[in-house]
Amino acid sequence: MMLLHWLLPWDFSVTVLAFCLSMVVLFVRGTRARALHHAALSRWRQTSFYLGILLLYVPLQTRYDYLAQHMFWMHRLQHFLLHDFASFLVALAAPWPVLGAGLPASWRSSLRRLWSSPAVRSVYAVVTQPLVAFTLFVGLIYLWLWPSVHFRAMLSLREYKLMNWSVALDGLLFWSLILDPRAQDQGAAMRLGTRIPLALLTMVPETIIGAYLSLHRGTVYTVYEVCGRLWPVDAVTDQQIGGLITWIPASMMCSAAALIVLRRWMYHDERVRNGAAAAVAVTGSSVGAPPPAAPALELPALAGGQT
């Protein structure tokens, strides 16, 4: 009963429900399809995905959203989940090829056509540039925390939804780039060696704004005073807790990502060294030949290249 209380919608949004449900349905279908072809997904990958989707659903759709609207630190926790934690878990599961495999066959081919269209490709090429990815990821934190922008976002329902969606979707994009299990020679959009400094670099602006909010003694965000807090918490205390959440857990996710990528980089280098001769022979033979036919299940183009 208590669980249901926290899972039922507070402000029902069809978009959130449709997004989360379709992600889950596609992932279940994709997992089944892969198991049939002896490419079963590990249990941790599945857990990471489902937990991530659940943690996207809860702050976007349930009663928790009400708390986040009326306490600054609850709002920062909501954005930590959307921007740094839930989207991190989803990306860690490397779900895109699985979701592609879960699509009905007819949708898959039209989606592949759309994905390889020049317009989509050029947008993808731009947003996956390290500088752009960094600016979007950090810029969204600063944009929505800018006092006048924040004030409006907490009052206008439309801007509030835009804020939460932009933060969640950019989180998914950023962590998918950083945590892509493939190296660049396997089709990833960004070099393994670029991703580590990129993940570590995002800690700097996050630390600056988090430290500012947790050490500042005046009220920066008046909207919570105006609209009422749910507990009689002092405005500065609320702001300090919010600042700490923006600062420490968010930075921890960046360090965790850097460690994961570092491990993959080391393994990748080892593999490349061990199989250098063989790899050269294989790639050498495919130059000039027509691109290999797409495997039946994977949707390689969806993940940005071949798997």
């Binding site: 609207q69 090429a125 005073e225 009422g228 691109p291």
Partner: protein, 211 residues
């Protein structure tokens, strides 16, 4: 390298394009933030025109009758949430609003203050009416069922919550401190913080009715 990979590899052109885009985003962010500061606003209060919904509600009126936004149609309406057992903020705010109305003089006839009690159990219509009469004739005490109050507070994105009662059964209600101002057509116009003095509020109300 096979063909699809060549297509994906960032060319020099796309990376310079990316730099341009990044710079544009930065400038837009900085510009947008600076630009949204209401430097030219004629009001002391925050201007909420266009981004909050028009006045609409279903509540219990001063005589216990069901009322809707039609009840204050054609009047500049000040919407404020509180409760009569409120120890400090509510009486102070209502006193401030009444002072502003007195400063407005004759034009205060076109203004109504909706004092919405978020504590309907302890605030039946008679209690609310007596409480409202301490302040100004334009102040109207209204309330509603929990569902009605929740719908209204959700609409204006404000919080209210009853704290657990003490040994004597007394309890506090946490609520918003701001006053929403709607024009006679019911459009949301201003959000007045509780730090705004009565004189500034009176100025805001007269510039609102002036255009």
């Amino acid at each position: 390298m096979s063909k699809p990979l060549q297509r994906l590899a960032p060319s020099r052109m796309s990376s310079s394009l990316a730099t341009i885009l990044a710079v544009t985003i930065c400038t837009a962010l900085a510009g947008g933030c600076g630009g949204s500061r209401p430097a030219t606003s004629p009001y002391h209060a925050a201007d909420i025109s266009g981004f909050m919904p028009p006045l609409a509600f279903h509540l219990r009126g001063p005589a216990g009758q069901p009322i809707s936004e039609q009840f204050v149609r054609g009047k500049t309406t000040l919407l404020y949430f509180g409760y009569t057992h409120c120890p400090d903020v509510c009486p102070a705010t209502l006193a401030r609003l009444s002072a502003a109305l007195r400063q407005l003089g004759v034009s205060a006839d076109g203004v109504r203050v909706l004092f919405v009690s978020v504590d309907p159990e302890r605030d039946p219509p008679a209690v609310l009416a007596r409480y409202a009469s301490y302040f100004a004739p334009q102040v109207i005490g209204v309330s509603g069922s929990d569902e009605q109050l929740l719908a209204l507070t959700k609409r204006y994105r404000v919080a209210y919550r009853r704290a657990p009662p003490d040994a004597q059964g007394n309890y506090d209600v946490y609520h918003s401190s701001a006053v929403f101002v709607f024009d006679p057509e019911g459009r949301a116009r201003l959000l007045v913080p509780d730090t705004e003095p009565a004189a500034q509020l009176a100025e805001d109300l007269s510039s609102l009715s002036a255009g």
